[in-house]
């Protein structure tokens, strides 16, 4: 059941040539977590701010649970927002921060206290209730902000890069915590991030944004394995990119060879091939693949659990990523081998 629906949201800031957000439409089922993923300046934060009511769209509608909230100011929307900077109230204790939204709703003191305790318990900060934000660590501040947003039992939980202010070590743990918490309380959530790992790991749905538009909306697997546009293929995950020309349906002339691909534009079109490193395998003696290329190792990079082999092939330079111990992973620089990959793993986009 659709809980959040965006219809053609557009926002143009004065003095800029292109709209910050340009006709964003999407639907999100109740209880799902949507990641707005994109580079900085792609309009993801502006989209989130329009959902929260902090930014007014030029055109388009925000519909929550079949109610058009586009014209409502933020204080009448009932949305829990966690800001990038957390935006805690510095002159109030953690408990008072969490209580603020309940107080604004006129909830009586006794119930308020119970719900504050409940929210702080939820994020594991019961013992820190009396502390001011300045006496809390970054991770603790982040959890207070989360508790504050959840305490009002929001229709939507909106998170703007909530992990970016944390150091890398904490990030993964907090990421999993937020996801677990979100699923426990069943909050329909929109999460803004520029970090694809965060988006892929946490989200039920990922909207990849670029220049104010949604390039692709899909599950993390869809976005990663079947990028709909060249931008998505470039932004999400890594890939070897080879220029080519379509010879016949399913065949692309690339470098000195013909590469088989699952779907191609009309013959004659100039295209770019994207092949993910983990789809490329060394072929053992007597084995074959849709595409099999002679290769010579140019560079070998060992990063612990993965070995990257950068190889020269007749089609161009390809990088294969292999787990340590798999056949071919020990290939030395200069050695020759055969690389194979399936036609369906070759994505073709107009150049």
């Amino acid at each position: 059941m659709t809980h959040l629906r965006l219809e053609g949201l557009t926002r143009r800031f004065a003095g800029t040539p292109h709209p910050a957000v340009d006709g964003v439409s999407l639907e999100l089922p109740r209880g799902a977590l949507l990641a707005l993923l994109g580079p900085s300046g792609c309009g993801k934060t502006t989209t989130l701010r329009m959902i929260a009511g902090l930014e007014v769209p030029d055109t388009g509608r925000v519909v929550v649970a079949d109610r058009d909230v586009t014209a409502l100011p933020p204080h009448r929307r009932n949305m829990g927002v966690v800001f990038q900077s957390y935006a805690l109230f510095p002159h109030m204790t953690a408990a008072a921060n969490v209580a603020f939204g309940l107080e604004m709703r006129g909830i009586p003191r006794a119930e308020r206290q119970a719900r504050v305790a409940e929210a702080l318990d939820l994020v594991g900060l019961r013992d820190y209730a009396a502390r001011k934000p300045s006496k809390l660590s970054g991770g603790q501040q982040q959890r207070v902000a989360l508790a504050r947003a959840l305490a009002i039992r929001p229709d939507l939980l909106l998170l703007d890069e909530p992990l970016s202010a944390l150091d890398a070590k904490l990030r993964e743990g907090v990421r999993d915590e937020i996801r677990a918490l979100q699923q426990r309380v069943g909050a329909t959530t929109v999460f803004v991030t520029h970090d694809q790992t965060e988006a892929l790991a946490m989200a039920d749905l990922v909207a990849v944004m670029n220049e104010g538009r949604v390039e692709q909306l899909g599950t993390p697997e869809e976005v990663f394995e079947r990028p709909a546009t060249r931008f998505v293929a470039t932004f999400v995950g890594r890939a070897a990119r080879l220029p080519g020309k379509v010879e016949a349906p399913g065949v692309v002339h690339c470098g000195a060879v013909a590469v088989k691909a699952a779907a191609t534009p009309a013959p004659g079109a100039s295209v770019e091939l994207f092949i993910r490193p983990h789809h490329i395998r060394p072929l053992a003696e007597g084995h074959s693949a849709d595409n099999a290329l002679d290769a010579q190792v140019l560079r070998r990079t060992f990063t612990g659990d993965v070995v990257a082999l950068e190889c020269a092939t007749p089609a161009g330079t390809l990088t294969a990523e292999l787990h340590g111990g798999t056949p071919g992973a020990s290939a030395a620089v200069g050695s020759r081998l055969r690389l194979g990959f399936a036609a369906q793993d070759v994505r073709v986009f107009p150049a």
Partner: protein, 262 residues
């Protein structure tokens, strides 16, 4: 980095230059002689005793303190909303209004005093409490607005937005969140407005009357006719009041925080 001896010497000379007149006045205030001479012929506290026994000056001190307190309150009450609007809201004429509020700072006080006299006289407000309060508030307001605009501007916008998303109307968010965070700035602004009014002389000269006079005006008149060290003792009393106000702000909020540099 620890300052080197050359820098310390320079700083010492600078402070000595700034404070030398104060030190001279402080020494003369303890003079045992009958005239404003330096060095004093001997030391005593007779002029402080004379000061506290001088009913006219003590009454003027009381009037000035009351006037300055009222002016500080009015300048804050009028300045806070204005500063909030300038710092936070977007509306046509915002820059013009900000300029207009700052305008009294640009006019020579002599011109301002004359203009106020001409404006207040027909309204029967010259040489009255309301007239003085109005005039001083007008001079103090730019300071209040300037300091508070900075203080409000230093409160992150996201903090206020967070309050909105939690259900606070813009008014409640401003009163419950933005204003308390900017409170040190308000304390500094109030103190400064108090001192601006307390020290204000030129405009007061135009607006005081025989039954309503402020301390700086009384002091000015006293020096015109007398040459005894009483006025030095009075000057020390004025410095004492200013110092007390600054220390109070320092005690309450810390002066650096109050001025927005921490």
């Amino acid at each position: 980095m620890r300052p080197g001896w050359a820098l310390r010497l320079l700083a010492f000379c600078g402070y000595a230059l700034l404070l030398a007149p104060v030190i001279v006045v402080a020494l003369i205030s303890f003079s045992a002689g009958d005239f404003l001479t330096f060095p004093p012929p001997g030391f005593s506290t007779r002029w402080y005793e004379a000061l506290f026994a001088n009913g006219q000056l003590m009454a003027a001190l009381q009037r000035s303190a009351i006037l300055a307190s009222v002016v500080a309150v009015i300048a804050l009450l009028a300045g806070l909303p204005a500063a909030y609007a300038i710092a936070r809201l977007r509306f046509p004429g915002r820059d013009a209004i900000a300029m207009l509020i700052a305008a009294p700072l640009l006019l020579p006080t002599l011109v301002l005093g004359l203009a106020l006299l001409l404006a207040l006289q027909p309204l029967k407000l010259a040489a009255t409490w309301p007239g003085l309060v109005l005039a001083h508030s007008m001079v103090a307001l730019p300071f209040a607005v300037r300091i508070m605009t900075t203080a409000f501007g230093a409160v992150p916008r996201e903090v206020e937005e967070a309050a909105w998303t939690l259900g606070a109307t813009p008014m409640r968010a401003a009163l419950r969140i933005t204003l308390p965070i900017a409170a040190p700035g308000a304390a500094a602004a109030g103190a400064l407005c108090f001192l601006v009014s307390f020290d204000e002389t030129v405009i007061s000269l135009f607006l005081v009357g025989p039954r309503l006079s402020t301390l700086p005006v009384e002091m000015f008149r006293y020096v015109e006719t007398r040459t005894d060290p009483l006025v030095a003792a009075l000057a020390m009393a004025l410095i004492g009041v200013a110092l007390a106000v600054v220390l109070l702000v320092e005690r309450l909020v810390g002066f650096n925080r109050a001025l927005g540099r921490s």
